[in-house]
Every structure is written in structure tokens, then in C-alpha cells.
């Protein structure tokens, strides 16, 4: 009888264990599937098709009196024409206008601009120079070389026609076109040409925004939690505040965007699309999360420490600032980093304040126009060009890596500074 009972209890225990293990396995498999499928779509965006041309430029036309390259004069020059005529030297048989147009479609629409930037960067002196440069092929040629365009369908349905395929292949055979590391992806901001689009603009935008978020939310959250833990008298008002903070943590994030639109933009007249406003909105959003974490962390400090400080004649403020806060710091930091990670992944509140926008310049100040990383992913996944598909996958991987490293930092900080009593 007893033995039977024990056996059934053990069986139940085993079953529970199996349920637990299988649910963990399920979650892990889902996560792995997600990451692997994104990874398979995205890894090819690490490379980009380039072609090499030798170009001779005479910089005499561009320099001003002081022998510096003049921006205005450079803008007026037909850089596209220079690249195109260099390309035509490889294919002298191309003569007709339509055919030329097809030929020029295999190189990036930004090739001329890229060449101009290279010349500018090299700060060449006056005189004629011959440069050997690697420039981007177009997104269609790039996708073809990566095998991402199926070519066994009728020619008129393809983004790239037989002639263009032959030209690209001939460039590859002559070793003047190949896949190289996609540098533009990590060093430039958004572009409408997939081959020149990069995430740096949105990464800088996210960094500026998060900086404002931390500067705004952290001091407020620490003050609020110290007050609530040590100074507030228990009563109706304190309870009311507490309930509201907990509720605020569950408010949908778009609501904070609406708040930002009506308060920061309409009332205070802060600029649209600026990291300053984005940071304030995300700061308000993460405030409750950080307050809750900070309070939990402050509460976990043994009361004896504070009481000892008070007993030795420290004021309430000294006890809090000198003794409790340093000990609670790891917990507060962990809460903050988790709040920041949440803020990093948000797009909805940014939509209302104009940070979901196409911005070509890399932001430099807190008031210049900027977007954020999840916004960039959203906008690329919405673009018609096929090559943006792999780029958005790579950007997702980048964002996930960013989040993982932030959470890792939280874990390390906690491990390093945590004290056991």
C-alpha cells in the first residue's frame, strides 16, 4: 500500500520533470528555428558585389585658390559619366542607347557619388590622377551573384536579363567583379539603393536616444524609489502612487508616443524626429520598470545596515546615499539595463514623434533627425527591392546581438558587485 503510494508519487515527479524539460526544449527549438532562419536569410548580406575600374580624374577643375577640393565644383561634375565610360571600356561592343542603359543598370546608381566621395577622402592635389577603385554593382547583379535570383524563369519576368547576366559573368571571369565584405552596411546610414544602405545611422540614433533615456529615467527612478522606500509615510496616497506605478509599467508603449506628441512636440515645441524627444518618451516608458527594480533592490539591503548608520548619527539622507545606494547599485543597474533593452526594441512610441522616417545623414546631435535600429529594420522589410530582405535579416541579427550583450552586461555587473549576506 505504502509502496504503491510512493511509486505513484515518484511517477508524478518524473512526469513533472519531463513536462518541464520538454517545455524548455520547445522554447529552445523555437528560438533556434527563428535565429537560424533569420541567419540563413541574412548572412549573405555580409557580402556585396563590387567591380574594379581604373579611372583617371583631373582634379584641376575642382580645386580652389588654396589647392583644396571644392565641394560645389565637385557636385557639378558628371561623376556617373566617368564611371560609365570606364565600364564601357570593358564592353566596347555596346553602342546603342538602350543597350547602354541596360549595361549601366548592372552598376550601382550611387557609383558616381561613391567615386566622388573617394576622391574627396583622398584629398588629391591639383593634377591628373589614375585611381583603381572598387565600386558597388547594382542590387540586382548582387542578388544574381549570390544566387538569390532564380534565372530559370522567362527573361521578361526577371529583374536581370540574359545580356546583363552575360556582362556580369564576363566581369567575374576577368576577375574585376567579385563578392567582398559589405563595408557600406556598417559605415553608412540609410539609402534607397540596397547596396549603399547601412545601419550606422540608426545605430547612432539608437545610442543617442538611449543616452537621453538613461540620463532622464535613472535619476528620477532612484529618487522616486528612495522616497517611496524610506521617506513616504504608509497611507492612502503612497498606496495610490504604488498602484499607479505598477499599472504604468503595463501601459501599451504607443500611448507614451501620443503623450510625447502632445506634450514634448506640441506644448514644448521640441523638434520632430529628434533623439532628444525619443529619449524622453522612452525614458517615461521605462521609468516604472526601473522604479520597480530599484525598489526591490533597495528593499533587499538588510535593514541592519541602515539602522547601524542611523544609530551612529547619520541623517536619513546620509544613510540612504552613503550606505544603501552603493549596495543597491548592482540591482538598480540590472533593472536599468533591462529597461534599456526594452527601450532599444521599441518602434511604436517613436512612430508618433516622427522617428520612423527616411534619413540619409548620420545624426550628430541630440536634436538632429534620427531613426532607431528597430525602425530601420521595419522600413527595410517594407521596401520593394529584394536585396533589402537579406539586409533587414542581418540588421535583426545585429540588434539581437546588441540586446544579448546588454543583458550579458547586466548579468556580469550583478555577478561582480553582488554582495551576499
Amino acid at each position: 500500500m505504502i509502496r504503491k503510494n510512493i511509486r505513484s508519487r515518484r511517477a508524478r515527479e518524473t512526469r513533472l520533470k519531463i513536462y518541464g524539460i520538454s517545455s524548455i526544449c520547445f522554447a529552445l527549438i523555437m528560438l533556434a528555428t527563428l535565429l537560424i532562419s533569420i541567419g540563413l536569410n541574412g548572412y549573405s548580406a555580409l557580402q556585396q558585389a563590387y567591380f574594379k575600374v581604373d579611372i583617371s580624374v583631373n582634379t584641376e577643375k575642382f580645386v580652389d585658390e588654396r589647392d583644396f577640393l571644392n565641394n560645389k565644383k565637385m557636385n557639378l561634375f558628371n561623376w556617373d559619366g566617368l564611371v560609365q565610360s570606364a565600364l564601357r571600356e570593358f564592353f566596347p561592343e555596346v553602342k546603342e542607347r538602350d543597350e547602354k542603359k541596360e549595361l549601366f543598370a548592372i552598376i550601382s546608381a550611387n557609383a558616381g557619388y561613391d567615386l566622388k566621395e573617394i576622391v574627396k577622402k583622398k584629398a588629391l592635389g591639383s593634377g591628373s590622377h589614375t585611381l583603381s577603385v572598387w565600386l558597388h554593382l547594382s542590387d540586382d547583379a548582387d542578388q544574381y551573384l549570390k544566387g538569390r535570383l532564380s534565372i530559370d524563369i522567362p527573361e521578361e519576368d526577371r529583374r536581370i536579363n540574359n545580356k546583363q547576366i552575360a556582362w556580369v559573368n564576363s566581369l567575374v571571369e576577368r576577375d574585376i567583379a567579385k563578392l567582398k565584405f559589405n563595408k557600406a552596411f556598417f559605415t553608412s546610414a540609410d539609402s534607397r539603393e540596397p547596396e549603399s544602405a547601412g545601419i550606422l545611422g540608426s545605430v547612432v540614433g539608437s545610442a543617442l536616444t538611449l543616452f537621453v533615456t538613461v540620463m532622464f529615467a535613472l535619476p528620477l527612478a532612484i529618487m522616486a524609489s528612495i522616497y517611496l522606500e524610506y521617506f513616504a509615510k504608509p497611507g492612502r496616497i503612497t498606496d495610490f502612487i504604488e498602484v499607479n506605478i505598477n499599472n504604468l509599467a503595463a501601459v501599451p508603449s504607443i500611448v507614451f508616443g501620443l503623450l510625447g506628441l502632445s506634450v514634448f512636440l506640441s506644448t514644448f515645441g521640441l523638434p520632430r524626429s529628434a533623439p532628444l524627444v525619443g529619449g524622453l518618451v522612452l525614458g517615461l516608458m521605462t521609468l516604472p520598470t526601473i522604479i520597480i527594480a530599484s525598489r526591490a533592490s533597495i528593499r533587499s539591503i538588510p535593514p541592519s545596515i541602515r539602522e547601524a548608520a542611523l544609530g551612529l548619527g547619520a541623517s536619513k539622507m546620509q544613510a540612504a546615499m552613503h550606505h544603501v545606494l552603493p549596495l543597491a547599485a548592482p540591482g538598480i543597474l540590472t533593472g536599468t539595463i533591462i529597461g534599456m533593452a526594452q527601450a532599444l526594441g521599441e518602434t511604436a512610441p517613436l512612430l508618433m514623434i516622427g522617428m520612423v522616417a527616411f534619413i540619409i545623414d548620420i545624426p550628430t546631435t541630440f536634436t538632429s533627425s534620427a531613426t532607431a535600429m528597430p525602425v530601420q529594420i521595419y522600413m527595410w522589410s517594407d521596401s520593394a527591392e529584394r536585396a533589402f530582405y537579406e539586409r533587414s535579416s542581418l540588421a535583426i541579427l545585429f540588434l539581437v546581438a546588441f540586446l544579448i550583450s546588454m543583458n550579458l552586461l547586466a548579468v556580469i555587473l550583478r555577478k561582480k558587485f553582488e554582495k551576499k549576506w
Binding site: 524563369i153 529583374r159 535619476p219 521640441l270 540619409i360 541630440f366 517594407d382 520593394a384 527591392e385 529584394r386
Partner: protein
């Protein structure tokens, strides 16, 4: 510790106050809002404009035609946008709001966009009339002179010569300009011309899409619709011509009223489901925002055949 906190607080406060006072926007940047259909074209122009001139790159938001007009017409000054894109002409109510706020919108017509009714490349290419499409997607249809609930289950129910395939259509959400245009050009048009209904009547009974499962609302993401069409051969999707053009290896546009959608048929308006696209410039900001007039002129210079906008699916004026 105390000192540090004090300085920090002062610094934060100072930045917020000064930036708040000094500028509503970085003054020399053009701000553009409006239609998501015009957005891809507008961004191409903006990028080229920024890379080929000394002016700063415009900032472009995709807010939808209605949302853009609202922002655009709300006032003069740096906190309000300079340009709004529109996938339809500005409504008179919107123009009134603009005038009331002292704004003169200058209209620029950039070309046309066709709306396609497409399915997977692997399936048969359909040839439909506007009425057949109407019968497939509308919540209400006409039966013996009366407006009744739509009960067509398969395409062969509508027209026996069509295949016996279940009706399954992915439609854009109500917030999209494509949806507005589709309702107007296909559904209202059918009720007006074929059923001779009055404006009030067709607005009341020919605006809603079916909700019995035959029509599914897809998100704003047209790439997702393309993926779904490729996965299910019996499904149809409604989206702009520029997406069909980029994905011709996966999907095909149905023939509507005997004409297949193509650059040529939309430009000469023989393909009937097409609409003009616009952008509006705030006259009061010209000369105040550097490069605004230059941007408008540059945009118009690219709306010709053979331009990069055409390559992106814009159909230039013939």
C-alpha cells in the same frame, strides 16, 4: 556625491531648456510627410538631391495621405512639414483647413500608379472584369435589383467560365491609400456605372469588403502579401504596380476589363485601375527653407520616362 548630482541635474535641465527654446527643427532640413505609396519615390529623389547638391538631405516620414495632409495643413513655421505626398488629390476639406491656417499648397502631379489584382505565377492568369472583382470582394452585391449579402463562394459562382476555385483575397487595410483607391476605382465605379446607383447609395452599400472569410485584411507590408501569394496559388492580392514590377518572378497581375497592367497600359490609361500621384509644397516656406523650390524642381525633373523613378515603378505622365 552631492556635487556630482547637482551638476548633472543642472546640465540635463540646461540642455532641455536651451534646445527647446532655440529650435523647432534643424532649420535647414526639408521635412516631408504623407502617402506611403509616394514614399519610395520621394526617398529616391531626396537621396539623389542630397548627394548631388549642397543642400541637406530631406527627412521623409510615411504617414499616409490623410495623416500627411493633416500635419501639413496645421500651420506655418519650422515645426510643421514643408511638403506632403498624396496618392490622391487634396480633398476640399483639407484645402479649407490649409487656407484657414494661411497656407497655400502648390500641387505637383508626378505620375500614375496602377493597382493590380494579382496571384501566384504558378497559377493560371485570370482575365476579369471590374464587376467580377467587385462580386468577389464586396460585402454587398446586387441580385435582381436588390442589395443582398455576398454569397459567392467560388470564382465559378460568379462566372461559369472562371475556374472552380474558392475566392480568397488579401486586401490592404483601411488606413492605406491603395485601399481607398481600390474601393473608389473598382467598387464605386461598378456600382455607379453598371448599377446606375446614386452617390449616396453606392457610398453606403459599395464601400465595405466581405468579412465572411473570403477577403482577409493584410497589413501595410506589401512584401508579406507577395510571400503569401507565392505560398498559396488560389489566393489573390491587391497592391500597387511598383510591387508587381519588383516581383514579376513570383506574381502576375490579372487582366482587368481586357487589359493587363503594364507601364504602357497604365500610362495611356487603357488599364483602368490607376490613380494619379501628387506632392504639395507649402508656398509660404519657399525661400525660408533652403532648397525647397530646388527640391520640387528636381523631383519634377525626375518624373520623365527613363528616370530612376520609373525604374522603381512610377508611371510617368505620357
Amino acid at each position: 556625491m552631492r556635487k556630482i548630482i547637482k551638476t548633472l541635474a543642472c546640465a540635463v535641465l540646461a540642455t532641455v531648456v536651451t534646445t527647446g527654446q532655440s529650435m523647432a527643427r534643424e532649420g535647414d532640413q526639408i521635412s516631408i510627410v504623407g502617402s506611403s505609396t509616394v514614399f519610395p519615390f520621394s526617398t529616391i529623389v531626396a537621396e539623389r538631391f542630397a548627394k548631388n547638391t549642397d543642400f541637406k538631405a530631406p527627412v521623409i516620414e510615411s504617414t499616409g495621405t490623410g495623416g500627411g495632409a493633416k500635419l501639413f495643413c496645421s500651420g506655418i513655421g519650422l515645426e510643421h512639414p514643408d511638403v506632403t505626398n498624396a496618392s490622391r488629390a487634396m480633398k476640399s476639406s483639407e484645402k479649407e483647413k490649409c487656407t484657414a491656417n494661411g497656407i497655400t499648397p502648390v500641387e505637383y502631379m508626378i505620375g500614375f500608379d496602377g493597382i493590380t489584382f494579382s496571384n501566384s505565377k504558378k497559377a493560371k492568369k485570370y482575365s476579369l472584369t471590374k464587376e467580377e472583382i467587385f462580386k468577389a470582394v464586396s460585402a454587398k452585391v446586387m441580385s435582381e435589383g436588390k442589395v443582398v449579402d455576398n454569397n459567392f463562394k467560388t470564382w465559378s459562382d460568379i462566372n461559369p467560365s472562371l475556374p472552380n476555385v474558392k475566392i480568397d483575397v488579401l486586401a490592404p487595410p483601411p488606413s492605406s491609400g491603395t485601399r481607398d483607391a481600390f474601393v473608389e476605382l473598382v467598387m464605386h465605379d461598378t456600382c455607379k456605372k453598371l448599377y446606375k446607383m446614386s452617390k449616396a447609395d453606392y457610398k453606403a452599400s459599395c464601400s465595405a469588403l466581405r468579412e465572411d472569410g473570403a477577403v482577409t485584411e493584410a497589413g501595410e507590408n506589401d512584401n508579406l502579401i507577395i510571400e503569401k501569394l507565392a505560398a498559396n496559388q488560389d489566393r489573390f492580392g491587391i497592391f500597387g504596380y511598383s510591387f508587381l514590377d519588383q516581383n514579376k518572378d513570383k506574381v502576375q497581375g490579372s487582366v482587368v476589363n481586357g487589359v493587363a497592367p503594364s507601364m504602357e497600359t497604365i500610362a495611356d490609361s487603357s488599364y483602368k485601375v490607376s490613380r494619379p500621384l501628387f506632392f504639395y509644397v507649402k508656398q509660404e516656406h519657399v525661400g525660408v527653407i533652403p532648397g525647397l523650390q530646388e527640391f520640387a524642381d528636381y523631383f519634377m525633373s525626375l518624373t520623365v520616362s527613363g528616370s530612376p523613378l520609373e525604374a522603381a515603378g512610377l508611371i510617368p505622365k505620357p
